[in-house]
Symmetry: C2
Subunit: 333 residues, 2 copies
């Protein structure tokens, strides 16, 4: 059983999941080789994954067979286990609990596509729809506090399979960075009675210099204090705290905005590795009018060096205004 | 002039330093090629670096000439500038200030060594002595709040020069992670009237299972909630908040402990890239009996994937007990 351990100083939780690991001796070897298709995620190889949890099957085909457009399966090497209680406990000054949670994979296409942007808007919408449905379902489990929906694109971003996919990791605690966002946003709200993310959307729409995309219901921006070169966030204009409550009417536009944003990053930076993370109000939070779901995209074009790790302090050599201008001016291929 | 910008939600400061950058168009190319020696850091090439700030010259040779054992020079491409005022200001909901600070390079050897462990203990001691002297000097500047002393070893850890060196980045604000450590440690102190790092040293010395080295005045441990495989911390046994106050009598033992720890990591993991960061009480803090300086070493043997970035939540596949055992059993070559 994996363990969740808390850093006694800063309160950061870490999953210690040795079952996923190579043995220490194996650490001399590094990067896992990505396999070329067809792979375990391809249509016709459904037996290579654990049984599907949810899938889009327009023809009404049966589970774990051909005929799907996108499917969600349990991660074959889960970082957390779905069964059992948390068994929270101490060990001297340390705190830990069982590594209970869920770890699912969203396979985004039946073909061996290397990027979600190779899908049409309707295919991207399928993926977003699956995110929403899985979050709404997993939220019902009282043990779970947060669902991290994320994508590692490319080997340099941590992907171990090249077939386009995302992951959902559901944890019994709220991750530190989300807790900090909640805390900061609440401070702002307590003082001004406004959501800070709404203020960001308003200010960026007005100033325009950091806008990447300016659509009816969404904006894509280079955030003012971007940690990374070409970091890009997508935010809904209308306040909404929880991604799992996004109405159907917005899913198609979000799919189009996400697809266009990622295509521009791919074209501008020669299809870089990137990470994408959905931020949403924790399951375990009550009504939190200060928080606003959004998507963060981090191209991996520069290395993160030691002092960033050791300090949580970043050097970004591309001003967000320059990055936004560059991405605005990309001609769609 | 670089800018310091504050993330309006979590309060994280970022250096936006476009002068160091390639232009956006250049971001298609990635990794800088490390040059083979002899290089600008080698003895006899002193004119290739800015004028030295401090050096160890046992023969009393003149500055910026041959005859040194280790030297400190300004970074040729500084992330922050030494001149000028902070000019703190707002921009709508955002906060920023001028990128004022210091950015120095500690060249660890006159020969083109690729690792600090190729130096004898006395050479490592020289480096630690320079860290201490520079911190004590920089602290006198009232504009500065924190000195980050760090080392990027190897290209994968962000090094752009292969000649063994460290960096000192002095900032007008306290980095978020250090502030969190200070806050967490103070909470513990307020409740228990003890330093949590002293408690960690005590518990780890007693349990032994996460001990890597157990010396008279220092321990090296795999921390209980290690974020990374083979993460290793070095802590002094006796409470001391500020590295710049370390007495001469401890420097030689620390040099030996650091050298042995790094050598074991190099031997166990085939000389991996790693980052090393010194954590010390901020210049700007008053007396803070809850904080305890220490060194964190993070081998870069696994990739950090998207959800770690997006959440501050880590998966570590090597339990620290296994990592410590493995490093304890390395036979010194």
């Amino acid at each position: 059983m994996p363990e969740l351990r808390k850093d006694p100083v800063v309160g950061r939780w870490v999953i210690v999941a040795s079952e996923r690991a190579q043995r220490p001796n194996d650490y001399r070897a590094t990067a896992p080789a990505l396999r070329n298709g067809p792979c375990a995620f391809c249509e016709g190889h459904e037996e290579a994954t654990p049984n599907e949890i949810l899938a889009i099957r327009p023809g009404g085909t049966r589970p774990n067979a051909k005929g799907w457009q996108a499917r969600v399966v349990p991660n074959k090497f889960p970082a957390l286990r779905i069964e059992g209680g948390l068994d929270k406990r101490g060990n001297g000054i340390y705190d830990l609990m069982n590594g209970v949670g869920a770890h699912e994979v969203v396979i985004e296409a039946p073909q061996h596509l290397l990027s979600i942007t190779e899908l049409p808007v309707s295919g991207v919408r399928n993926v977003l729809w699956l995110f929403r449905e899985r979050m709404a379902d997993l939220k019902r489990d009282q043990r779970f506090a947060y669902a991290m929906v994320f994508k590692n694109q490319g080997e340099a971003a941590g992907a171990s399979m090249e077939h386009s996919h995302s992951q959902i990791l559901v944890t019994p605690i709220v991750p530190l960075l989300v807790e900090e966002e909640m805390r900061g946003a609440k401070q702002f709200y307590d003082f001004r009675d406004r959501c800070i993310f709404c203020d960001i959307v308003e200010q960026e729409s007005r100033l325009q210099e950091r806008l990447v995309l300016d659509e009816k219901n969404f904006v894509a921006i280079a955030p003012f204090a971007s940690r990374f070169a070409f970091e890009t966030w997508i935010l809904p204009r209308t306040h909404l705290g929880r991604f799992e409550e996004i109405p159907d009417t917005l899913l198609t536009e979000l799919a189009q905005v996400l697809r266009t944003t990622l295509r521009r990053i791919e074209q501008a930076l020669a299809s870089p590795a990137y990470n994408m993370v959905l931020h949403s109000t924790p399951f375990s939070s009550g009504n939190a009018p200060w928080y606003h779901w959004h998507i963060e995209i981090i191209p991996r074009v520069t290395r993160v060096a030691g002092f960033e790790w050791g300090s949580g302090f970043y050097i970004n050599t591309v001003p967000p205004e320059d990055a936004a201008k560059f991405l605005r001016e990309v001609r769609d291929a």
